[in-house]
Subunit: 193 residues, 2 copies
């Protein structure tokens, strides 16, 4: 068993209970992939074909606006899923880019494979829906914070909630994620005492 699948196996075990046969099915379905720092998992304009589970490293989803500014939509690290669900669902070109912030490793599950897995392993289907449910809740929380907090409050909340991202991602990307300029974030960080 690959190191990558071991991480995934632990993750699944933490969320549901599956037979050895089911784990075999999962392992056969997962395509491991390594990504070097700065390498793309998905590029704007391409159709997103995979649900990706991260077994190692740190990735980001970002969009580029007309003026060429990057906007980080989200970060994701070990034990997180990442994809463009909209492109995956509609099979239309993605508006987003996903790339590696660190050297990373992921497991790819293409759309039809995922369908097969959720159809044949109900407990796995339930886990996947549970993940989606939590993702939605997290998004609602972020929206709440985005519309109601100052830059400083957003940053403090971010650091508390995601210390891993705060330590591992460059400040310019964190600023982008928070919807503020890097200079503003720098000042915020340095004004503390």
């Amino acid at each position: 068993m690959s190191a990558g699948f071991e991480v995934f196996r632990d993750y699944v075990t933490r969320h549901t209970q599956l037979s050895e046969v089911d784990f075999g099915t999962l392992e056969a379905a997962a395509k491991p992939k390594k990504l070097r720092k700065h390498q793309y998992l998905l590029q704007e304009g391409d159709v997103c074909r995979y649900h990706c589970f991260i077994t190692k490293g740190l990735l980001r989803t970002y969009a580029v606006d007309e003026k060429g500014n990057e906007h980080v939509i989200r970060f994701a690290m070990e034990n997180w899923w990442i994809s463009d669900r909209e492109s995956l669902l509609t099979e239309q070109p993605s508006k987003f880019n996903i790339d590696a912030i660190e050297d990373s490793e992921v497991l790819l599950f293409d759309k039809s494979t995922m369908q097969m897995l959720t159809d044949s392993i109900p407990a796995f289907a339930k886990m996947v829906t549970g993940v989606l449910d939590k993702s939605f809740i997290t998004s609602q929380t972020r929206i709440h914070e985005a519309i109601s907090s100052t830059a400083e409050e957003k940053y403090n909340t971010f650091v508390q909630r995601y210390p891993g991202f705060a330590l591992r991602a460059p400040q310019s990307m964190i600023a982008s994620y928070l919807g503020i300029k890097p200079e503003t974030l720098s000042r915020l960080r340095n004004k503390k005492h």
Copy 2:
């Protein structure tokens, strides 16, 4: 069949195919409820017990911060679902309020009933997951806009995407939803030529 269920039946028919038996099961499970303008569907501190489908009217989810300011998290009208998924999932007190902006009618499905329905009607389960998936995608889009757009861009996008909300909700609530002050929204609207 009540007028409310008729709306729901049409909605379900648009999204999936169900037998008459299944529709009977749904109708038996749905508790209709009328809400007068300003009436609460959920109050902060209470545990959210229901998935609610709106058959008539307009509701909002909002949070109140320490300073007493209201922040509108979302609007929802006919053919939309509304609830606090976090409270529903965890059975912890909600941080949000949901109330009626207009006289409204909803169908309530409590958590265990919903579980029973999705367990016994796979097509319905699939539809519900599909709705959640779309909700998540919508949230991601809103986050993207929140971090990358000016107040004016946010307002224009909002009007285009949700003309119904733009016409039916008071401006102070729309401003709150966009994360800006009512005065700012008023100026934006009136500066056009």
